[in-house]
């Protein structure tokens, strides 16, 4: 019954990918923890957080695709929501250090002691509780997206103008978070984390659990996104993308439609950032860099925007390539990335997944056309037999 319900709300390929991700959620930790190092299926410890990082990026790309691929809002500032989610988690992790910091101050994080801050600023209250921090991951990102989107969409800022102000938003946050006075560790950001939920953050078991949590979050986000884009609301979104004024004159409030998906997408990006920080062990203002947000756009374009699986594949492939490339020729990575984007735009405008889907759709069409042709030929043959047979029948 559950499988029937799933099939009704999702496409088969979405379910397959969600299943594969969940399979990875089980396989990677088990293989890392249980299999002997000599076993060919063993995943070494250094790889677990790296794979987890890829999945965080995949979740971020999926979030961007919801607004860009389905609603035509090219956000060049999604890195900001990712970073904000990361900071919320980072603040929790900072509070878990307690008196194990360099200055052994039980009440203040190291950087505040260094800056001679007398007490914890009010906006750090509550972050010693995981639940509160987790809530803030979606509340802060959602609220920023809501306010930003409310102002931008109501004023009908669209297209390249919207892209530019999203870029400005992330740049403004970058500058703000660089300032020591902001109380988020300035240039150095937040790091030297010790524990998460009482577990040592460096331990193999914790890393494996973080990977599993990321994979599960990605699978759930994929199913949620699929439910959204396959609903009538999702169809309206595509309508906004293709013919905004038509949607408006049909009586839809385009600004509300955009605002909802933009907020959901920002929250997803925030969750991705929150899962990213404990796995890489640091969050600093560099994550707000406009170039980061642009990279997300490239992953999504390479994988195939307007498909849900595309951004996941794109993010994983491009970042896997980046890991290899930056190890071999570190100074050429940006050229390679630029070339990749140009090549995608020229030769794979629909991205990898979009192109594959198009190929299969064409083949189906071709096959269907072939079959009608065949039945037509058979009908003709049958008609011929009938006419040749009828005189005999008359006799």
């Amino acid at each position: 019954m559950i499988s029937q319900m799933l099939l009704r709300t999702h496409e088969k390929k979405t379910l397959i990918v969600a299943f594969l991700i969940l399979l990875a959620a089980a396989f990677v930790p088990l293989s890392n923890l249980l299999l002997a190092e000599s076993n060919p299926l063993h995943i070494p410890g250094y790889l677990v957080p790296l794979l987890g990082k890829y999945l965080c990026y995949a979740l971020l790309a999926l979030a961007l695709d919801l607004v860009w691929g389905y609603c035509g809002i090219l956000s060049l500032g999604h890195g900001a929501f990712f970073a904000l989610g990361g900071y919320a988690m980072g603040m929790y992790l900072m509070r878990q250090i307690g008196n194990r910091g360099v200055y052994a101050n039980p009440d203040l994080p190291d950087f505040m002691v260094f800056l001679n801050w007398p007490e914890l600023p009010w906006y750090w209250y509550g972050f010693s509780h995981f639940g509160f921090a987790a809530l803030m991951v979606i509340v802060v990102t959602g609220l920023l997206a809501f306010v930003f989107g409310w102002l931008a969409f109501r004023s009908r800022v669209t297209g390249v103008y919207l892209s530019i102000i999203t870029q400005a938003m992330t740049y403004a946050l970058l500058l703000a978070f660089f300032r020591n006075e902001m109380g988020f560790g300035g240039n150095n950001g937040l790091t030297d984390f010790k524990d998460i939920l009482g577990q040592n953050i460096q331990a193999a078991g914790t890393r494996a659990s973080l990977f599993a949590a990321t994979a599960i979050a990605l699978a759930l986000a994929l199913l949620l996104s699929s439910a959204i884009v396959r609903s009538k609301y999702g169809k309206v979104l595509v309508g906004v993308r293709d013919a905004e004024s038509r949607t408006r004159f049909l009586g839809y409030r385009v600004e509300n439609m955009k605002l909802f998906i933009f907020t959901i997408s920002a929250m997803m990006a925030g969750v991705a950032g929150a899962l990213y920080v404990p796995q890489v062990g640091i969050i600093n203002p560099g994550e707000f860099a406009p170039a980061n947000s642009i990279e997300v756009v490239i992953w999504t374009a390479v994988g195939g925007r307007g498909t849900l699986i595309g951004p996941i594949i794109g993010a994983i492939l491009v970042n896997f390539g980046k890991s290899i490339f930056t190890a071999a020729f570190p100074e050429f990575w940006l050229f390679a990335l630029g070339a990749l984007f140009v090549a995608t735009t020229l030769f794979l405008p629909k991205g990898i997944v979009g192109t594959v889907e198009q190929y299969f759709a064409r083949r189906r069409e071709y096959k269907a056309a072939g079959e009608t042709e065949k039945t037509y030929q058979e009908d003709k043959a049958a008609a011929l037999t009938a006419t040749t047979a009828s005189p005999q029948a008359a006799e």
Binding site: K235, G239, D242, R248, L250
Partner: protein, 250 residues
């Protein structure tokens, strides 16, 4: 005029709007009665499209009154409000959702709740399904219901858009050059369709094609330089010397 206003479907009085000093509409006034099919003609730049923009809330007039159904002040509403009140608009260039199927295009246009959450949790009812099928039948698109709108011919897109407007169940339909780029056969079929539609609602058609307007056989308003030049039957309007000079003679 107050009496006229309360019984009319659409009432414009002294509507003016200018863009950067250019007066697109200059004290335009006319009235469309319930159930009326009205044709509007006029040379390029006469203000036909601006007039539609004002009625549908895309543009706000600098001065003048616009009332719908005798009571609703349209100058205070936006596009979505006005569409939900029951004014449908067909664009000059056929505007359909290209990456949706014909069926989905009609489904999206269907006059149902249009909020974020009502669309998010929308489930197709048998009634809605029947209604979509009926509309597809009316605009003769049943056979193509599963095709993407992008793959339709120009004329079919025009018809699909008319179908979407029917699904919207408007009380007043504004149609901008519905037969531009259509073959002669399609043009006369469209005239029949519009007359059929006008039986149950008011329709305002902006058109250049005089043959088509003759086919419709309705009251004609000729606009020029943002105001009404002449109004009456097609023969009356086309014999008016001002109309000949401003529009037909050119």
């Amino acid at each position: 005029m107050a009496g006229k206003m309360s019984t009319s479907m659409l009432y414009l009085d002294g509507v003016s709007v200018s863009f950067d000093g250019f007066k697109a509409l200059n004290s335009l006034s006319f009235v469309v009665e319930p159930g009326e099919l009205r044709a509007i003609i006029g040379p390029n730049g006469a203000g036909k499209t601006t007039m539609m923009d004002i009625i549908t809330g895309k543009t706000r007039p600098d001065s003048g009154q616009v009332f719908f159904n005798g009571e609703v002040d349209l100058t205070k509403k936006d596009e979505a409000d006005i569409a939900q009140l029951g004014i449908g608009r067909k664009f000059q260039k056929p505007t359909v959702f290209e990456s949706h199927t014909v069926w989905d295009n009609i489904e999206l246009a269907l006059n149902r709740k249009r909020g974020v959450f009502s669309t998010l949790f929308y489930r197709m009812t048998p009634g809605d399904k029947a209604r979509i099928e009926e509309i597809l039948e009316t605009v003769r698109m049943t056979a193509r219901k599963d095709d993407l709108a992008a793959n339709l011919s120009h004329g079919q897109k025009q018809w699909l858009e008319i179908g979407m407007l029917l699904a919207q169940e408007p009380k007043l339909l504004l149609v901008d050059e519905p037969v531009a780029g259509m073959t002669d056969a399609e043009t006369s079929e469209t005239a029949v369709l519009l007359k059929e539609i006008a039986k149950t609602r008011s329709v305002v058609v902006v058109e250049h094609d005089m043959g088509f307007i003759r086919d419709l056989g309705v009251k004609v308003t000729c606009l020029a330089e943002g105001s009404v030049l002449a109004e009456g039957s097609i023969d009356f309007v086309s014999s008016d010397p001002k109309v000949i000079e401003n529009y037909l003679g050119r």
